[in-house]
């Protein structure tokens, strides 16, 4: 129970739409921008709803406050900072590298963990590439590739399909997941979701579905 709860708390959805669902990307919200996200997560019989508020301190620094409410009366929260330390622009493309830090708390045990990580990625009109490494209660390493099948214009619905590979290690236990995912946006509204499919026994599938709006 406790382990699964921590897993849910560590779910790394950082409140920015065009990022991997289970991994991380380097994206930050615009200066003064506010994002609100409601997310449903499920692992085995455990279910929870997380609410995130994202704020763009600058165009390169985003703050995220996350509260999680489980269906079984557990609660948790997290505070995270993402700093984009490098970026390179071209027409319809941005490459970036960000550092992530923060703290997450398990309200059941009261245990707090420091979060730390790095994320790199390329966003372009057709393709997306992401990679990250993070530590919290365990070590995470993720890669993701995404494609936009239809290059729709601004003010049109926009769909991106993703395929992620998520690695986790805690002590001697190692897990690898293959994770198909999607994000669908229309202007400042986004819906995204995915499923983590374990490649070996012992772990259950994890599901995530969220809606997000930017103001």
């Amino acid at each position: 129970m406790k382990r699964a709860l921590l897993l849910l708390l560590m779910y790394p959805l950082l409140g920015f739409s065009h990022e991997p669902i289970f991994g991380l990307g380097p994206g930050t919200i615009f200066r003064g921008g506010v994002g609100v996200e409601a997310e449903y997560v499920k692992e085995g019989s455990l279910q929870a709803v997380a609410t995130e508020v994202l704020y763009g301190l600058t165009e390169d620094v985003s703050l995220t406050l996350r509260a999680l409410q489980g269906f079984e009366r557990f609660r948790g929260g997290a505070f995270r900072v993402k700093v984009r330390v490098w970026k390179d622009y071209d027409r319809g493309k941005v490459d970036a590298l960000s550092l992530i830090g923060g703290i997450t708390t398990d309200a059941v045990s009261g245990t707090s963990y420091l979060l730390g990580g790095v994320a790199v990625g390329r966003e372009s009109r057709r393709w997306y590439f992401f990679a990250d490494m993070r530590t919290a209660d365990r070590f995470y390493a993720d890669t993701a590739v995404g494609i936009r099948p239809w290059l729709t214009e601004y003010l049109k619905p926009d769909l991106v399909l993703l395929s992620e590979l998520n690695y986790e290690q805690k002590g001697n236990k190692r897990f690898l997941f293959v994770s198909p995912a999607f994000f669908f946006t229309y202007r400042n509204l986004a819906v995204k979701g995915g499923v983590q499919i374990p490649t070996s026994g012992g772990e259950k599938e994890r599901y995530a579905l969220s809606a997000e709006v930017h103001f």
Partner: protein, 91 residues
């Protein structure tokens, strides 16, 4: 005097009309929303048109308002993009 006039024309777009900006980093509509929002907050801006596939933003500004390139660069930068070029529409 000519130099001053030329300088003013170079750094300012003070008579309104339509501007065409080449903006790099416009990868997705969700990200571009912040740029549209900030540009629409500018006084005198009547219309913002974003073309993701061309990397172009068109601004229609009231005749009584104008903005320098530096001001536009700052707004685009704070939106998470970079302004490469700005010119008056030929239309």
């Amino acid at each position: 005097m000519r130099f001053i006039i030329a300088l003013v024309i170079l750094v300012s777009f003070a008579v309104g009309g339509e501007l065409v900006m080449r903006v790099d980093g416009l990868a997705c509509a969700f990200c571009a929303y912040g740029l549209e929002k900030k540009l629409k907050k500018l006084k005198g801006v009547k219309r913002v048109e974003i073309s993701l596939n061309r990397g172009i933003v068109r601004l229609e500004i009231d005749q009584s308002f104008g903005y320098t390139r530096e001001e536009l660069e700052r707004i685009v930068r704070e939106s998470g993009f970079i302004l490469r070029e700005v010119r008056r529409s030929a239309e």
